[in-house]
């Protein structure tokens, strides 16, 4: 397989209520990525965007972002999932051999709509919506409790994930200000407003405004563009059952299978030893534990026992993760950017020492129904 390299990236500062129009936020991210890589509009051969018609308040919402995203009179398409899925589409465009530079941009502005209410419309109109108020928060409540009950994990362990990630976010200048807190305690998390018992406000990755962009190029081009390319050496993705009632909520089968696919591609046999840092998209605190178990970093139910601090056994979300700010559709792409920064040594303030291989994940759906995993490596 031909190598595909990340040759540029840019993320705007995450804001809870941005004093921006959506257009200019997209432009800042894509223009920023091009400038960082020393490239121009004419170098772009394909653009993949990732937004959601619902979240954008208009149909075929990529149509409005043509100019801002660098797609004017260019090959252009959209993925309506997570930015991490859009990156896979961009990678496939590069691997087709027809493209020299792919722009992938993703994100939205949660300040423009009631995000959690919009997610009510993700449930089944016939079998679920009439029975009860089920949105992403309710589903997280179901899952957190199922996980805690099955493995005897305390709610304090959920709160510890929040404390770690929000503390990490306080060192990340691009994280959401409201999410940054170096002095947060487990008690603060448990005492914050209850959303869907046992899920409290601070356990929710706060939806916010933000756009991120990544540039991909085939090996030959990548080496011309940058002397610090980061290669995608493995990718895996998997989809679980739609209905919440049709799967075991205490684990993530889709992530386990996605990870298997990615590890096989990258030749990884002992993930905990071979991977130096992981950026995991945790829309809720408990997801970090369930997903790290599914990634093979810990046994089922034992995720909380693996030290994932910046100086721990396996640092997870040194950037703060999604709990450090969650712009719908953009969060997974930001995880990949953060993993890239760890390899290139650009994670100012939260750099993990000696990162050679990094892992990043994206997800979409209730209780992380669909998961996607990337393995990234540096070197020429």
């Amino acid at each position: 397989m031909q190598k595909v390299g990340i040759v540029g990236f840019y993320q705007v500062k995450l804001l809870s209520d941005a004093n921006y129009g959506r257009y200019e936020m997209i432009f800042e991210a894509v223009r920023g990525a091009l400038d960082k890589a020393g490239l121009k509009k004419k170098d772009i051969t394909t653009v993949i965007s990732c937004t959601n018609d619902y979240y954008d308040g208009r149909t075929i919402s990529n149509a409005f972002a043509v100019e801002a995203g660098g797609a004017y009179l260019a090959d252009e398409s959209k993925v309506e999932m997570d930015g991490a899925h859009a990156l896979l589409y961009g990678m496939m465009r590069i691997l087709s051999g027809n493209h020299k530079l792919a722009v992938i941009w993703a994100g939205s502005m949660a300040s423009c709509f009631p995000y959690h209410s919009a997610r009510l419309f993700e449930t089944d109109p016939i079998w679920e919506r009439p029975s009860a108020y089920v949105n992403d928060i309710t589903a997280a409540g179901f899952q957190m409790r199922a996980y805690m009950e099955k493995y005897g994990v305390s709610v304090e362990e959920m709160a510890k994930v929040v404390v770690k990630n929000r503390r990490n976010a306080s060192k990340n200048l691009l994280a959401l200000e409201e999410a940054q807190n170096p002095n947060l305690t487990v008690k603060d998390v448990l005492d914050s407003e209850i959303y869907a018992d046992p899920v409290t406000e601070l356990m929710v990755a706060q939806p916010c405004d933000g756009i991120a962009a990544i540039l991909l190029a085939p090996e030959k081009q990548a080496l011309k563009i940058t002397d610090k390319p980061v290669w995608i050496t493995g990718v895996g993705y998997n989809q679980d059952a739609y209905y919440l009632g049709d799967k075991d909520l205490s684990e993530s089968k889709s992530m386990r299978l996605a990870a298997k696919m990615a590890y096989e591609a990258a030749g990884i046999t002992d993930p905990i030893k071979e991977i130096n840092v992981a950026e995991i998209f945790e829309a809720y605190a408990h997801e970090e534990l369930i997903l790290k178990e599914a990634l093979g970093f810990a046994e089922k139910g034992k995720g909380a026992f693996l030290n994932s601090e910046i100086d721990g056994e396996l640092p997870i979300n040194p950037s703060g993760g999604a709990l450090g700010g969650n712009p719908p559709c953009g969060t997974g792409l930001i995880r990949i950017i953060e993993a890239t920064k760890q390899i290139t040594g650009e994670a100012n303030g939260y750099q993990v020492e000696g990162v050679k291989k990094a892992l990043a994940t994206g997800q979409i759906g209730m209780c992380a129904q669909n998961n996607i995993v990337y393995i990234l490596e540096g070197g020429n």
């Binding site: 959690h116 209410s117 409540g141 049709d246």
Partner: protein, 176 residues
């Protein structure tokens, strides 16, 4: 659903800025009509009218779906074997929603449960009887269907689930 909202779903916003303005948008979703196949769960609906429950079993993997599913994702076939289910089940997991009535501002604390009907391999999103205090809800709690007064052959015939007496502790004692 439209009259209630999650207590803090719009809590983050909004200030007036000099650089930006907002304009109201609208999604005309209320005019949307979902169209769905009813032939595959006709027997289910007929049974509901008689206050009886049936699950749909996949004859390939033997999983029993309740409520009935059109397709078994695992085997990629249409399940076609109807099996009788009891009225009883257990709470597989639950959460509590805090919903605010937009007119009165009153917040109600309600448990929402996933119920595993006895004899079924899947769970069903449901509510508990208003008599059950949300603080008393637990995983494994035995429950029983509370039927609507006049079943019409729709899912709403299962109005909610009543608590039934829990004998599991006695069973454990007997094991000892």
């Amino acid at each position: 659903m439209s009259k209630r909202t999650q207590r803090k779903s719009m809590g983050y916003i909004k200030k007036d800025y000099i650089r930006t303005r907002t304009m109201p948008g609208s999604w005309y979703l209320s005019s949307y009509r979902f169209k769905f196949n009813i032939t595959h769960f006709k027997p289910f609906q007929d049974k509901l009218k008689e206050r009886k429950l049936v699950g749909l079993q996949c004859s390939s993997c033997n999983r029993v779906f309740f409520p009935p599913r059109l397709i078994c994702g695992k085997c990629f076939v249409k399940p076609d074997r109807w099996v009788d289910l009891r009225e009883t089940g257990r709470v597989a997991t639950f959460t509590i929603t805090y919903l605010k009535d937009l007119e009165t501002g009153e917040v109600s604390e309600r448990p929402v449960v996933l119920v595993q009907q006895d004899g079924s391999d899947t769970t069903y999103t449901a509510q508990l009887s208003p008599d059950v205090d949300y603080k008393d809800t637990y995983i494994g709690m035995p429950v029983k269907v509370h039927w609507a007064e006049e079943p019409t052959g729709g899912l709403m015939d299962i109005q909610f689930y009543d608590l039934v007496e829990d004998n599991s502790k006695d069973l454990e004692l007997r094991k000892d």
